[in-house]
Subunit: 229 residues, 2 copies
DNA sequence: TCGGTCAAGTGGTACGACCAATCGGCCCGA
DNA sequence: TCGGGCCGATTGGTCGTACCACTTGACCGA
């Protein structure tokens, strides 16, 4: 079971984390370092990695705890890669489209009424929005609710990591272009078919609605110089 | 531009990496630590994070270099999360299905003849395979080639990170069940339509072929107790 | 010209000390 | 008896120094 690094200390830590399970507290660094026969410096080095990945959480004065995989680390890495031009917004967006379609399909198939109601709530908020910022917020909540309606941890993890990055990047690009494709009517019309497909439990329709919904953004990427009349 | 951590040192490092660009070498740790007004210990702590994410590469005796975002770190984290039961194979597989479909669509739309030829080469290798291991290898190569045929860095990054994890997990489960759904004819038949769709440049057909292709795996997950006659 | 050798430079580890946040128990007062 | 505040032990965070392991390139000699 080789994990994290081809390194005895990392391997031992991985096993320990597996055995302890979520929420558990690790032994103090000083003790653990001695047990693994390594200095505290080297141990902390490995712990830092695991913390970065979102597997561990360290709290000064309290201890080190095992937590669910958190997307913050990945989000930061993507953010950096994006601004260093290793990744393009377009390619990230493409991944998001793929994940959202899958989420729409799974949410429709699962058909959890409570979770779908949260999606509906976000849509209602969008209709009632007064400012562009309100629309953005409701948009964000809509997709968040959709993801959680799948009950799929991996899907949620990846999508969460990308959502923040893309929202920032898109807003930035939108501002630069001084364009505002976010009319309320357009947004609501883009999201409603997806919600209705969820209600109907129609996975295929949900997938199509998700793809259609992204056409709005697509224009923003492929025709960045487009201006409004 | 807040990146990696709400921390002055990390922020400074992020800016530095952005400015230097891919392939560049960072100043020595001792010098950089002094410049940032922090101890080498604290600096190394941040560097370790960035290395884990695959943004940096450190080589003892040589230096620290900026590299393209590498998926190894994410792969390790997923591996750990999987074996710690935070993520299920099923949910990871679902993400992979979504990404592969998107990759198939983009590869078909792009229609790069050279890259598609590599896909065909993998298919030919699969037909010529003599052992189950050969089939696995060709299978792996097929999907690798498909991903690179998209020219989409983000898609490749995510898919790469998951492919290794899933291959290991699936092989493990397959061994445990003592089942071998990987008959050569079945594998080839599953992959050929996708290749043909790429040749035809038909994105929709490629997407459908990708989805169909995963039906084989689907049985492995949903009916794990299935036995062969 | 080729080859090895060696020294400087760089990341990796170790140790010891101290700082900062947390947590829990003890003590005091109401 | 109960409540609250104080204080000290615990634990993660940082620092400085020394040394080790590896790489690189220049130098020297055959």
């Amino acid at each position: 079971m080789i994990v994290i690094a081809p390194d005895p200390v990392s391997d031992a830590l991985s096993d320990l984390i597996r055995d302890l399970g979520e929420g558990a507290r690790l032994p103090p660094e000083r003790e653990l370092a001695e047990r693994l026969g390594v200095s505290r410096t080297a141990l902390r080095d490995r712990l830092r990695l695991l913390e970065g990945f979102g597997v561990l959480r360290r709290r000064q004065g309290s201890g080190t705890y095992v937590q669910r995989l958190a997307p913050q680390g990945l989000e930061s890495a993507l953010d950096l890669a994006l601004s260093a031009s290793h990744l393009s917004i377009e390619s990230l967006h493409s991944v998001r489209v793929a994940l959202e379609r899958q989420a729409a399909r799974e949410a429709a198939r699962k058909g959890d009424p409570v979770a779908i109601a949260h999606v509906g709530k976000a849509l209602a908020d969008m209709e009632a929005a007064a400012t562009a910022e309100d629309i953005d917020r409701a948009d964000f909540a809509f997709h968040q609710a959709l993801l959680h309606a799948t009950g799929n941890a991996a899907l949620t993890f990846f999508a969460d990591a990308m959502t923040g990055v893309l929202f920032r990047a898109v807003r930035q690009r939108r501002d630069r272009l001084k364009t505002h494709p976010h009319d309320k009517e357009v947004s609501v019309a883009a999201h409603r078919p997806l919600y209705e497909a969820l209600l109907a439990g129609d996975a295929d329709a949900a997938g199509r609605a998700s793809d259609d919904h992204f056409q709005v953004w697509h224009d923003l990427f492929t025709r960045p110089r487009m201006e409004r009349p």
